[in-house]
């Protein structure tokens, strides 16, 4: 009875994420953990790496006293000073390119792109410069750069501040792309990204900055290219990225009530992509939904669906189904905007259809 199914709220999803992460981290581990928000986890990763390595600097619009528009980096300028936490002019191409040049010559800059939509302004620096310099120079110059950007709609910010454009850098050889979904993953992946010797684009879901989760006190990192099974299940695999992971987990709880056991796989990075974990999961469950908040057409979901088709074709009992943002500019009006993004309800209906339940 679809109408009777309870849809979990954002706050409830956050609470579930917290509990799930706690049990995941605590299980079989003696680590001390505490709760951090997604934003706090990102900041803690950056602060720890800045303490560890004086070559790490932070550049962007309003990153210092303002601590970014989302207040994620509040306090860093007080600890590290304005020579390492640097407010820039509103010149995304200029300061991103400056970050590339600084990365080539001995620093490990983190460049902050306030809204992922502004990647349009830095694509030459990212795609033609940062991504290609190591290869074009025959391996002589390298670019250890992190570009932070945000993604995610439903913040009522309209068409130029709501897109999820992580498919763009994922398409360019030479870049690595991180799309964390929990505070734990965000911290461990950010630390790895900063230590990586390549340009890494790190996407944060701006709607999840307040999402709480367990984060160990001890130092840890998470390798790029290692997916995480966020929920074990047997009937259908939902591969979900970033903002869509909590939606998939919420839908999985709804589907449990109708007898569909969902496995949720979070790739955590779109490149490198852990194809093996995805394919293995689908071979086990025989059905797959791929969810990603980027535009559904020609996007991350399409790529992962192709990986599944190539790797698990003979194990499939239903067509692989993509769920992404609608192929429209993100509208402002709330009922219109909400209609553009996959919801728990969309996943619920799709999974039931694919499973025949």
């Amino acid at each position: 009875m679809p109408d009777a199914v309870k849809t979990t709220s954002h706050a409830e999803r956050a609470e579930h994420a917290r509990t799930d992460a706690f049990s995941a981290v605590s299980a079989g581990s003696a680590w001390d953990v505490r709760e951090l928000t997604f934003g706090e986890a990102v900041k803690e990763a950056i602060a720890e790496e800045m303490r560890r390595d004086p070559r790490v600097v932070l550049l962007g619009e309003d990153v210092a006293e303002a601590g970014t528009a989302f207040k994620v980096l509040t306090g860093l300028v007080q600890e590290f000073g304005p020579s390492r936490v640097i407010d820039t002019p509103i010149s995304e191409a200029g300061f991103t390119g400056l970050g590339v040049g600084a990365a080539m010559t001995g620093l490990r800059p983190i460049v902050d792109i306030m809204f992922g939509d502004f990647l349009t302004l830095v694509m030459d620096q990212l795609a033609n410069q940062a991504a290609k310099i190591h290869y074009m120079s025959g391996g002589k110059w390298r670019v250890p750069l992190v570009v932070r950007a945000t993604l995610g709609a439903t913040r009522r910010s309209a068409a130029q501040h709501s897109q999820s454009l992580h498919a763009w850098p994922s398409h360019i050889p030479g870049l690595k792309v991180v799309v964390p979904s929990t505070p734990y993953d965000a911290k461990g992946l950010m630390k790895t990204a900063i230590r990586d010797n390549n340009p890494v684009v790190f996407f944060e879901d701006k709607m999840q900055y307040k999402l709480k989760g367990a984060v160990p006190l001890d130092d840890y990192t998470i390798p790029l290219g290692a997916a995480d099974v966020k929920r074990v299940g047997s009937d259908i695999t939902v591969v979900a990225t970033s903002s869509m992971v909590q939606v998939a987990l919420g839908a999985a709880r709804m589907l449990e009530d109708v007898g569909v056991d969902v496995e949720v796989v979070d790739p955590r990075t779109t490149w490198p992509l852990d194809e093996q974990t995805i394919v293995n999961s689908v071979k086990k469950t025989s059905r797959a939904i791929v969810m990603d908040e980027g535009y559904g057409r020609y996007g991350v979901a399409a790529e992962i669906a192709a990986v599944i088709a190539e790797g698990a074709f003979y194990g499939l009992d239903a067509p692989v189904t993509r769920l992404g943002a609608m192929h429209v500019p993100i509208p402002f009006s709330p009922p219109l905007e909400d209609a553009t993004v996959p919801t728990e309800r969309t996943v619920f209906d799709t999974a039931r259809r694919l499973c025949g339940k």
């Binding site: 400056l98 040049g101 010559t105 030459d124 033609n128 190591h134 025959g138 670019v143 390549n198």
Partner: protein, 317 residues
């Protein structure tokens, strides 16, 4: 060898290198195209002679002169232009992407204006790491149309970065005279940001060096970035294949520049006129260089291509 003779030798080396590049192209021995710097040698040589080996440069699609003036070896340059494994970039970059950390060459960049922000970033590193290094960002007047150049000049001045922006005005944005693309006065663009600046005769290597050296020293003392406008002329086409140029510039114009404003002839006359060298001495330099370039070119022609399985190497560090 005196400083001026060194400059003469370097300009001749660039000229002889590029004449051979053109020859390789016309004999169909070189894949792709090359953008020749012939006629503009005094700019690269005058500027780079004011730099230390560990100073940085960024170059352009018309970059052979910058790379050689900063100390690149002709044999490894030829090899790169021919796509050979022994080239500066293992054959993966080609003519437009020569890069060489040993000589501070951050790389030639084939996006017009594409290196402005990168060069500014290298200057940021130099200051942050207290390395005392200066960065020279070479670009053509075509890059004056790119916004990122002005973003970079603003950042450089705002943060007092040790960088000198060198604009080589060879009069043509590809096939279009710069006056058709460039409003106002070029020098006022730098002045608007408060950059120290100088406008020089780019055909006179002594004038280039004389204008650049104090601005490089000033930048090194962290007293501020600078902007140099070097007025010069591209003797050849936009690239080696651009041989019919009547539709955008007159033959007489080219002939006049070559006859009256050749930077090598200008310095040669000065050297002979001042008794600093005679025709024989200059001839010996020429012969020596021609021999060196021929050997470098032949070595590169005989060098092997990369193995095909190298195609996937170096994508990531």
């Amino acid at each position: 060898m005196s400083h001026l003779l060194q400059l003469y030798r370097q300009m001749r080396a660039i000229r002889l290198f590029e004449e051979r590049v053109n020859d390789l192209y016309t004999r169909a021995l070189m894949p792709g195209l090359a953008h020749l710097y012939i006629g503009e040698e005094a700019v690269a040589v005058g500027v780079c002679s004011a730099l230390r080996r560990d100073d940085y440069i960024t170059s352009t699609h018309r970059g052979h002169g910058h790379c050689l003036a900063k100390g690149a070896s002709p044999d490894l340059m030829f090899a790169e232009l021919l796509g050979k494994r022994a080239g500066y970039c293992k054959g993966k970059g080609g003519s437009m992407h020569i890069a060489d950390p040993d000589t501070g060459n951050l790389g030639a960049n084939a996006i017009v204006g594409g290196s402005a922000a990168l060069a500014t970033g290298a200057a940021f590193s130099s200051k942050y790491l207290q390395q005392d290094r200066v960065v020279v960002c070479f670009f053509g007047e075509g890059a004056l149309g790119q916004g990122v150049l002005y973003e970079s000049m603003n950042l450089a001045q705002l943060w007092t970065l040790p960088i000198v922006f060198v604009c080589e005005n060879n009069l043509y944005n590809e096939y279009t005279h710069y006056t058709e693309t460039t409003a106002g006065d070029i020098m006022t663009r730098a002045a608007a940001f408060g950059l120290a600046s100088a406008c020089v005769d780019g055909q006179d290597v002594r004038a280039v060096y004389g204008a650049v050296a104090p601005l490089v020293d000033r930048a090194r003392r962290l007293e501020g970035p600078a902007f140099i406008l070097a007025n010069t002329y591209r003797f050849r086409g936009h690239h080696v294949g651009d041989v019919s140029r009547d539709y955008y510039r007159a033959k007489q114009e080219e002939e006049r520049w070559m006859a009256e404003r050749d930077p090598i002839a200008i310095l040669g006359s000065h050297l002979v006129g001042e008794g600093l060298a005679d025709g024989d001495a200059l001839g010996r330099i020429d012969a020596e260089l021609a021999d060196e370039m021929d050997r470098a070119m032949r070595w590169a022609i005989d060098a092997p291509y990369p193995a095909v399985d190298e195609v996937s190497e170096d994508v990531y560090a």
